[in-house]
């Protein structure tokens, strides 16, 4: 089970703040591809990703229980 957190425009496209996914994916890239197949309008350009609250990359390995968050370009301050 991958716990997915969504913010800003990602939350609006997917229509949810958080999802729990029973998925057989090994890394972030595979998760992105799965999401794109379900939500083709998602745009991952310039979107960062965090696994368990630390910045990660497409190659980062994910396992059941991990919290994955997509971080669209930030605009704090």
């Amino acid at each position: 089970m991958i716990n997915l957190l969504l913010f800003a425009n990602f939350q609006e496209v997917i229509g949810s703040k958080a999802l729990s996914l029973e998925l057989n994916v090994n890394n972030i890239l595979e998760l992105k591809n799965y999401l794109l197949s379900k939500y083709p309008e998602l745009d991952f350009n310039f979107v960062m990703v965090a696994v368990n609250e630390e910045y990660a990359t497409d190659e980062t390995v994910i396992k059941s229980g991990d919290v994955v968050a997509f971080i669209p370009p930030v605009s704090g301050g």
Partner: protein, 153 residues
Amino acid sequence: MNFEITDKPIITQDIINKVVDRNAGAVTTFIGTVRELTKGKKTLFLIYEAYEKMAVKQLSRIGDEIIEKWPNAKVAITHRVGKLEITDIAVVIAVSTPHRKDAYDANEYAIERIKQIVPIWKKEHWEDGETWVGNQLETEQYPTGKPEGVSHD
């Protein structure tokens, strides 16, 4: 707690009090406020949203980076989330150091880093619609998907 996300109005003096130090000769305070006009377009109000747990971690990381660069500095940052009206305070950064130049420099460093690595988003509510701001000219973009200087740990 020197690094906080809050949904309440920020009292600037509370943030300053966290960096008071007997060896400080300077305290700089940056107050980020909600602006009404952006390139002629009128903002009615803003909604700030944060990935709170991670935002606090990243704010605290900025504090660590500052101590590395300016070892005698003390830093406190509070960012507000929720609905903010024009002139409301969105963020307060207080830095104290023994000498003033470091306090100015470290404070500017903090706001620049906030705009790079802290997961906070603002949604502009204009007169004619709403948009998540993510492509402000002053915001750096990260084609590699990862901000510079952020180690993978």
